[in-house]
Point group: C2
């Protein structure tokens, strides 16, 4: 894709000379290409990040949605403001209050999923050539948004306690010395996508202070914050420095992604520009969807539902960690997430997860290869495994298949033959310094 | 707004030095500011473009939506592809077939309203400094999208038969001579927003030929195409030159804007890039909303419903034209739309519609002042009046109030005193050359 001169029907693209320069950065993500594969029922997909929806009260949601359309349809089906419905913005403030965020509804902008929040923030702040610092690895959708505005993402090392403050300092220093302008720190502090790690409490103020001192705005992307398996909710970065943090939130992981309702909380002058940018991007977010979410929050035990989601995901995380321990060949290590959807696996030297993927799919298991989560070519020995969607049984089966594929890779088959039979004993959680 | 150094809470914006250059073009539209005013019940708003929804079968829509959530909720509430649901894309091709468009479902991309289609097209094609030619006046939301990507809109004259081909040639020649790169013609060929005029059949091939010869891609924005009052559907520009036209469609004017379901039909290589851009902008359009529209198209008499919408809007158009004729002071002229939502009014010399607006609002009538529809400062003697939302009685009352405000403007009060009583006889439709 990108500036590829051929389209998939074999002819040259007659529009080739017309595209904007920013399209050079638009390439099909490795994860996107996987969606088609993952949808085949015989494949155990550990690739996607689709949440588990079966616990939702569909009959009740159906009845509520019907009442909204029947009784308030002339509002629900009509245009509304680009800012978002006032009642929903108030309720969003109540949700964020769980994380210690003190927000005014006026400073919240409702978006079409938090992906649109990301896009609008990139649009507001990124000139071509600007630098965004972000965890390495980082959420693939964020890398796409920053690329769309021709910003360069510079990765900062991550360990078992999250973003490494000294790594952040070094990255900022290096960019400054190179005459680059760093606009944003993009971070997923809780149950990071894809690494699964969480920014340690002791590092949070330090990271914020580094950014403030360097004039770098912090973009806190927090879709998983309420999905911690210990039931503890970590204070949002926003709660520690509201004037220098833009917070991205979402109902996709705690309610329903198909409604596409997310939000941005931003310092007031930034919020004003966000509304203008949102209006230019799509006039207004869908009114009906906002009313469905608002009604759900007002009438359902959404906190209780989140607790049950936590239980479900914790059980699946456990199933995956147990299966990794049981099946994966020596030399593999992985993170142990305290919440969220993802485990980040390191494979032995000589294995390339992107090259291995077709063999995995042939063995009816799919994962997200690591290189898609970096802009600098790293990640070939990493893969992201998602435990959010398959059942524990399917997770075990998927990991079993994956292990067989790994063991058949030439690098491992040789090593195994050289070392003979037998496994390293004990847990092989990834060492903190080795994410 | 834009680079304004003060926010509305009176403090300086600490983020001022951080915004991207493109934010300089982000300003609150004059029309947007009117929404707050227009929502006060005592004001007759002739300002907004909200469609009339009272004719929708709300009970039936409620029941259908409930069934979708109850029976297919795990799909409707889940992520889907950025491309849009396959069934809906097939149905969209059937809708466009009414306009002579022969399209493959694969070449359709579902968007969050056609505004997002506009945004994505601008994103794909517009580098900073590129030129987009467009009718003068032009749809304010399109001007916003092009400004967001730092393209410059050059207006082409419009007369009673739509875009003037010689004006288009002159604009392209002038841009070329100035060393500018013209990327797109943006046009609303049917029942134009805001002017109400329709591109004559005899001009369509000519406009397309001019663009093709100049290497300019045509963006055909056609939200009103099925709302012609004579029941005749004009062939889309796309049907005449499919490889050089990107078509933007919408269910906002023929079904329900609050669902935010629009689409783009594009030549295949452009379509591929559009999906990547859409994924970066919002991952995927709302699944539930696509299923509601799809079910509506599959089970309801949507063609019959569009016919009844036509009748409703024709009656309102007639009410507005009659009231303009009866009440507006001498020296005012206007267009006579054959479909769509808008009448474009020219007021006598000395009247400034933007300056007059607060006096109109005080007299409990609102309209959209003309300058918002131009990037070049023109339009101060123009206003857009919408007849889509108020009842015929309210339209008459609104025009009556507007006439009183106009007559009290100093320029008219003086002229009237000089000329003495009496009105010009006969219809005062705007001459074709004078849009």
């Amino acid at each position: 894709m990108g500036h590829c001169p051929q389209d998939d029907r074999g002819g040259p693209d007659p529009h080739l000379g017309r595209y904007a320069a920013r399209t050079a950065g638009m390439t099909a993500s490795e994860i996107r290409a996987l969606f088609a594969v993952a949808s085949r029922p015989e494949v155990v997909s550990l690739a996607g990040g689709m949440p588990h929806l079966a616990a939702l009260p569909l009959e009740e949601l159906a009845a509520q949605s019907a009442r909204i359309i029947a009784e308030e349809g002339l509002t629900a089906l009509q245009y509304a403001s680009a800012h978002g419905l006032p009642l929903l913005r108030e309720q969003i403030c109540e949700v964020m209050a769980l994380e210690g965020v003190a927000a005014r509804p006026d400073d919240v902008v409702v978006t079409v999923g938090s992906q649109m929040g990301l896009d609008l923030v990139a649009r507001l702040f990124c000139d071509p050539g600007d630098v965004v610092v972000a965890e390495g690895p980082s959420y693939v959708g964020a890398l796409g948004s920053f690329a769309a505005y021709q910003a360069e993402v510079v990765h900062v090392p991550v360990d078992g306690h999250g973003l490494v403050p000294d790594g952040l300092r070094a990255a900022l220093r290096q960019a400054r010395n190179a005459g680059r302008r760093v606009k944003l720190l993009y971070t997923v502090p809780n149950f990071h996508n894809p690494s699964g790690v969480t920014l340690a409490a002791g590092r949070r103020a330090e990271v914020l202070e580094i950014c403030r001192a360097s004039g770098v705005l912090v973009v806190e992307d927090n879709p998983y914050g309420l999905l911690g398996f210990d039931g503890r909710v970590r204070p949002a970065l926003h709660s520690l420095d509201p004037e220098n943090v833009v917070y991205l939130g979402s109902f996709s992981k705690t309610f329903a992604p198909g409604l596409r309702v997310g939000w941005v909380l931003a310092p007031h002058p930034v919020r004003e520009k966000l509304v203008l940018a949102a209006e230019s991007a799509m006039l207004c977010p869908p009114t009906l969807n906002q009313m469905i979410v608002s009604r759900y929050l007002a009438t359902q035990d959404w906190r209780g539902r989140i607790e049950s989601f936590r239980e479900i995901y914790r059980e699946r995380r456990d199933a995956m960690l147990d299966a990794l321990e049981e099946y994966l060949p020596p030399g593999c290590t992985w993170t142990e997430p305290d919440g969220g959807f993802y485990v980040w696996v390191k494979v032995p030297e000589g294995v390339d997860t992107k090259a291995m993927l077709p063999r995995a799919v042939a063995a009816r298991v799919a994962y997200a290869p690591g290189t898609g989560f970096y802009t600098n070519g790293l990640g070939s020995r990493r893969m992201r495994l998602s435990y959010c969607y398959p059942t524990p049984e399917r997770i075990r089966e998927g990991v079993r298949r994956l292990a067989a594929v790994l063991e058949a890779e030439p690098a491992l088959a040789h090593a195994s033959a050289a070392a003979g039979p037998g496994r390293t004993a004990g847990r092989r959680a990834l060492a903190p310094e080795a994410v």
